[in-house]
């Protein structure tokens, strides 16, 4: 047996028990003995390390939201059920604290909106030729109107919650937040109208996607503000 064979055995079977042939090689090969000794000490040291501490689910959620917002990762559609199942289990315990709960809602809005936008964007683009052959012409016009429907619905459901949290406030900051929400809503409506007329206008689609992300961040900011003033 050669040195490379010993390495192969280690890769496949681990440190022990080593086969007779490998042990015989070790008797003659100082390099391999040292190699085995190094590996053994590493494994021993690893066993003495404390067991891993699982971070709270909210850490993963906010991390994911941030990475998605920065475009570093994209959420595949099939990940959703697995992710939902894990963090919903601990959400009731987490919501005991009112302050954390409010922050959590904000993070969830941003994460949900970003995820929805990404999911929407991940939908395969419509091939106009194929569509003409397989679908009635009306279907081509319906696609853009529904493309961001999930995102729009999720954000529209959260909007009354967010605006309600700063409804009573007269501070300039909250007035500015409300004003900017109005602006972004108008812009979204404008882009949606245009996309209905020009379904394949990619530039408008980009602006619409960005506007939804801004709206999500704005609602999150309103909730955060509401938490600090209430």
């Amino acid at each position: 047996m050669q040195c490379k064979d010993v390495e192969l055995v280690l890769e496949q079977e681990g440190l022990e028990p080593l086969p007779e042939e490998a042990r015989a090689h070790l008797v003659e090969c100082r390099d391999c003995r040292n190699y085995i000794a190094d590996l053994t000490s590493l494994v021993d040291a690893a066993k003495k390390l404390p067991s891993e501490i699982t971070p709270p689910d909210r850490v993963w959620i906010s991390l994911r939201a941030q990475l998605e917002a920065e475009g570093i990762i994209r959420t595949p559609a099939d990940v959703v059920p697995v992710e939902s199942a894990s963090w919903w289990q601990s959400i009731s315990a987490f919501f005991r604290n009112r302050v954390l709960a409010t922050a959590m809602v904000g993070i969830l809005i941003a994460a949900a909106a970003v995820f929805q936008i990404r999911s929407d964007r991940a939908t395969p683009p419509l091939d106009p030729l194929k569509s003409v052959q397989t679908s009635p012409p009306l279907a081509i016009q319906e696609v853009p109107s529904g493309e961001f429907a999930g995102t729009a619905q999720a954000l529209n459901e959260q909007e009354p919650v967010a605006t309600g949290m700063i409804l009573a406030s007269t501070s300039p900051v909250d007035a500015s937040l409300r004003d900017n929400l109005k602006k972004v809503n108008e812009f979204i409506a404008d882009c949606e109208r245009h996309l209905k007329e020009q379904p394949q206008d990619e530039l408008t689609r980009e602006y619409l996607s960005a506007a939804y992300q801004q709206k999500a961040e704005l609602l999150s900011a309103m909730i955060e503000r509401g938490r600090s003033i209430n």
Binding site: T170, S176, K183, H194, E202, L203, Y207, A210, S228
Partner: protein, 306 residues
Amino acid sequence: MSLRMIEITPARPGTWAKRNFLPVLSAGLFLWSAVPARAAGTGQGIERQFKITGRPVVVIHNVANGRIEVKSWKNSEVDVVGTQSSNKVGFDIEQVGDRIDVTATILEPGAQPLELEANLQLTVPEETELQLKTETGLIYVEQVMGDMKLESYAGDVHLKEVSGYIIVKTTGGSLVCTQCAGKLDFSSIGGNAQILQPQLNNANLMTTTGNILFDGDFVRTGLYSMKSGKGLVEVRFSSTDSFDLKAQTATGTVDNQASAFLKPDSHGVKHMASKFTHGLFGTVGMGLAKVELSSYSGTIRIMRRD
């Protein structure tokens, strides 16, 4: 915190003072400078200085109304001056190694906006990283080199002679960046961005309803992207600049006031605007930098500065 009793056998009062009181006082002063400070007083302020050994990181979170001003000096110290309009606002200031955290907090949430004014004035070493967050009120940074992230809801952000990776995020506040260098990311809903005399090699500017003005040179090999949903995107370049230009708008207009300098792309790539957009492609000089301008419904204006 409790103090442990120490048995002392004084020889003479004067000697005791010298041998014991002074070291204790010194230690006390040292410890006092290391623990978080809190100040709250009517019309009063707080001033603290922190020694640093390397490149400091200054983190400010101002949840009250007010201005944050950061300037630089040659000293290896961070000087923090905070003033507040009432005792309903307080400052928490803390040093951990070379990181200085300053937080202006509202002590009485029900107070009137005028009572919740807290201004911060910082003097930092020239090479300092900043992370500033405020709700309203101006953020002003001058002559600081280092990465910085500046966030504001309604306040404006004014930067002068700063360099590094600069991230500015506002909801309604505007950015004025004069003689900035490095990389700049700006995003806003209603805020404008004015980039004057820049030395930026990378700029990514995006606003939904605000205007964008870029008045200055495009660094060779630089990448520039400027997008406004509804506002005006105006670029004023110099005759010595060298860049490829791509300008697109969905429903707006492209106002090319530099057609004499803008030539067809010289790199052999044939650009065509989408049939759904109004586009303009061209090259100035050798086309070394890349400039992308876009607007959904606003105007894109391209003009020569000199």
